[in-house]
């Protein structure tokens, strides 16, 4: 343990952690989400100042998969996150409190950190019949959400359910499940879709908020560009197979076993914006659907997940050339056999008619003209 003169380890950090370990945690956390070491230094500085942002985490219509996914991080582990980097003031899965105690904890957290806390929402909110399909302590999800969001510094929707409705919103959507941005009209909501969302995206977003005091660059759907700026297809390890035209045609066939592209098995990678191909899950190499040999089903995209059938080929957003090249002179144009037949027929008919006509041409074509006998009026021959 060092003496108290040097602020080696921020006082808010848990005891037993030396500076070296602390720096390592921060470095791991920032590296995992692609932040530079300069950013890491900022995180350290921010935490040293005692800025451990308050996080309030609400659950609605969800399976808790996103939380479970967060639990499986180790760079940093959830413990390091909870104790060293953020102050998790309300989380129904992880907190010890229950019942009225829990409700009081929520209210006091909201009041104490008003305007500064990050509200993380997991799960969709049902809207049919005024939202009666999800109630806690007789308060509907809509009311709870609006109340918690009203004094939040930032609102983050984690997972596809909170981002756009997720699996509860699949047709026929009997509860009117909706993403939280639809309910919090006008409020800026950072959406981190995924089923589950990749936990490092949340960590990256939170860390950036901690370090720079602002949220990362978002696209038009509120998704951080650093994670959702590309489709899976644009960064897939199997892309070379796609470009070369090597596909698995059936599960278990030769191509499937050789790890070929899964486009023909309905992989929705080409229309799905996500970072799974880069980040993977559970910190195990290839621990993501395509890596395991299963086509992506587009869990981040509202238009794709739970809507488009599994085996239906995906729409390719922004197609690029394949690995084959156009030859210097590619054959173009088509000669229709029917057209040659028609053309030949017409030509032949004309020639034949001409020939027949010519056979009948004589110097003396006949003495009786086919015209009716003219009348005697000399003026009549070229009149009507």
């Amino acid at each position: 343990m060092r003496d108290d003169m040097s602020p080696a380890v921020p006082p808010t950090v848990r005891p037993g952690l030396d500076r070296r370990m602390f720096l390592k945690v921060v470095a791991q956390a920032t590296a995992a989400v692609g932040m530079t070491s300069a950013m890491a230094a900022k995180v350290v500085a921010a935490v040293e100042k005692g800025a451990r942002p308050s996080v309030i985490w609400l659950h609605f219509q969800e399976c808790t998969g996103c939380t479970e996914s967060l639990l499986r991080t180790s760079h940093p582990g959830l413990a390091e996150v909870l104790f060293d980097l953020i102050s998790l003031d309300y989380h129904e899965t992880l907190m010890a409190a229950a019942g009225h105690q829990a409700e009081e904890a929520l209210e006091s957290a909201i009041k104490k950190n008003a305007g500064k806390y990050i509200l993380v929402v997991e799960g969709a909110v049902p809207t049919k019949e005024n939202g009666i399909y999800m109630q806690i302590a007789q308060k509907t999800g809509i009311d709870m959400l609006k109340h918690a969001a009203s004094s939040a510094g930032a609102v983050v929707a984690i997972g596809s359910c909170a981002s756009w409705g997720g699996v509860p919103s699949a047709d026929p959507n009997p509860t009117g499940a909706s993403g939280i941005n639809k309910i919090l009209e006008g409020k800026m909501v950072v959406t981190l879709p995924g089923c589950p969302a990749n936990p490092y995206i949340l960590l990256g977003t939170l860390l950036q908020f901690v370090a720079l005091g602002k949220l990362p660059e978002l696209d038009e759907l509120g998704r951080p560009r650093f994670a959702y700026g590309r489709t899976i297809h644009e960064h897939c390890p199997r892309r070379a197979h796609f470009d070369a035209g090597r596909f698995a045609e059936e599960f278990g066939d030769e191509g499937h076993r050789l790890g070929y592209c899964l486009y023909k098995l309905g992989c929705k990678g080409p229309s799905t914006h996500a970072s799974c191909s880069v980040l993977q899950f559970c910190e195990v190499v290839d621990a993501w659907p395509i890596g395991l040999g299963h086509p992506c089903f587009g869990c981040t995209e509202q238009a794709v997940a739970f809507r488009v059938p599994m085996l239906k080929p995906a729409e390719i957003v922004r197609p690029t050339p394949p690995s084959t090249y156009a030859p210097v002179a590619a054959p173009q144009g088509f000669i229709s056999p029917l057209a040659t037949a028609v053309g030949g027929l017409i030509g032949g008919a004309l020639l034949g008619a001409g020939w027949m006509a010519s056979r009948g041409m004589k110097e003396k074509p006949g003495t009786t003209p086919p015209t009716p006998p003219p009348n005697q009026n000399p003026d009549s021959s070229d009149k009507e």
Partner: protein, 406 residues
């Protein structure tokens, strides 16, 4: 036995014969297909592609058919420049073939251009690219049809107007006629200058393609060859039309006129062939004509189709037999048409492996536009006094009408 053609008569045959109805149907169908082209786009109705951007419409209906439609020009030159007065009775027929040939050529052109709404700019000379040969063709052809051809084809129409019985119409017809008489040379000179310009320009068009036209056809003398071939095909067309008309409607067989047409056509063709081979030798591509590849075969075919009939028609005996005259003229016309048609199509070799053959709709449209020409011709000869006939066909002697000067 030759009978002299002296008067233009209006045929009294019924108009709606089976062939006429068929042609009318085909022409109408082509117009419907044309409508289809307007609402869907050229690619759907033709076999055209980026390599062969010009197809049947431009190569056949415009280039080839207007050559056939140069009959009015060619015969008028004979009558007015070379003073061969005997051609006056067939002048109306000749200029009618010109009118229908050019008219339907313009119709086809109208359907062929991809952005016809911008045609309006043609009236503003500031937008003209005066280096462009195609502009010359377009402006000249349009001027020719609107000014010269209409003028030349007015007399039978005026005649009918005059005899319609309505004094006002009659008066107006006479007024227009007197105007025509007093300004005649100016219009006819125009009718000679304009087609010389655009018929030769149709040849110059292919200069710009440079080496993309096979050397057997690409020549600095293309305008001359195209112009000369226009005369030849003009004569051929008038001959064929007259022979067919004589055959179908028993107009009498005027050996002098027809024989003369054939002789002039024959000499012109021989001259054309000599010039062609001299040009080939001068450009050093004479051997290419005998390599017997696809281009050489087409070239030899068109040469033979021109050479054999023109030699044959040197014989007075063959000229005196209508069936031979018709057959040889037909072969000659096919050869000439093949020549006019080839440089923009068969002899055109774009980069890359492009192939082109007109689609079925394209063929039907082209045939329909040609049928339109026939339909208008048939209508005109049965409503106006156009076709020539010998006096023996007109039972009663008729007084010479004031319009007989034209």
């Amino acid at each position: 036995m030759t009978e002299k053609w002296e008067r233009c008569i209006r045929l009294k045959e019924p108009l709606l014969t089976k062939p006429f109805k068929f042609m009318l149907g085909l022409a109408g169908f082509a117009m419907l297909l044309g409508l289809l082209r307007e609402v869907s786009g050229l690619g759907y109705v033709t076999g055209l592609n980026d390599g062969y951007a010009w197809g049947l419409f431009k190569n056949w209906n415009v280039t080839a058919l207007t050559a056939l439609g140069s009959g009015g020009y060619a015969v008028a030159v004979m009558a007015w420049i070379f003073n061969e007065r005997k051609f006056h009775p067939i002048m109306r027929t000749a200029v009618l073939t010109s009118l229908v040939g050019y008219g339907t050529g313009m119709v086809a052109l109208g359907f062929d251009v991809g952005r016809p709404w911008n045609f309006i700019h043609i009236i503003n000379p500031k937008t003209w690219n005066h280096h462009s040969v195609l502009l010359e063709v377009a402006v000249c052809m349009t001027a020719y049809v609107i000014l010269a051809l209409n003028f030349e084809n007015m007399p039978p129409f005026l005649e009918r107007m005059h005899k319609s019985g309505d004094p006002k119409q009659s008066e107006r017809a006479l007024k227009i006629f007197h105007f025509m008489q007093s300004t005649f040379p100016f219009w006819i000179a125009l009718a000679f200058v304009l087609p010389s310009m655009h018929q030769s320009s149709l040849g110059s068009l292919m200069f710009l393609a440079g080496e993309r036209v096979h050397p057997l056809w690409q020549s600095p003398r293309l305008p001359l060859f195209y112009l000369l071939m226009a005369y030849i095909l003009g004569f051929a067309c008038v001959l064929l039309v007259l022979l067919l008309s004589t055959y179908v409607w028993k107009l009498g067989w005027d050996e002098v006129i027809l024989g003369r047409l054939a002789v002039v056509m024959s000499w012109l063709t021989l001259l054309w062939l000599v010039l062609q081979f001299v040009d080939l030798a001068y450009r050093g591509v004479f051997e290419d004509a005998f390599t017997f590849d696809r281009y050489s075969i087409v070239f030899l075919a068109e040469t033979l189709l021109l050479l054999v009939p023109s030699l044959a028609l040197q014989s007075a005996y063959l000229r005196s037999k209508p069936s031979y005259l018709f057959q040889f003229t037909l072969l000659l016309a096919i050869g000439g048409l093949l020549y006019r048609f080839t440089p923009t199509s068969i002899a055109f070799i774009p980069l890359g492996h492009y192939t082109y053959f007109p689609s079925v709709i394209e063929i039907l449209m082209s045939a329909g536009f040609t049928a339109l020409a026939v339909v208008i011709f048939l209508y005109a000869v049965k409503k106006f006094a156009i076709l020539p006939a010998s006096r023996s066909k007109i039972a009663a002697e008729a007084a010479i009408r004031p319009f007989d000067t034209l």
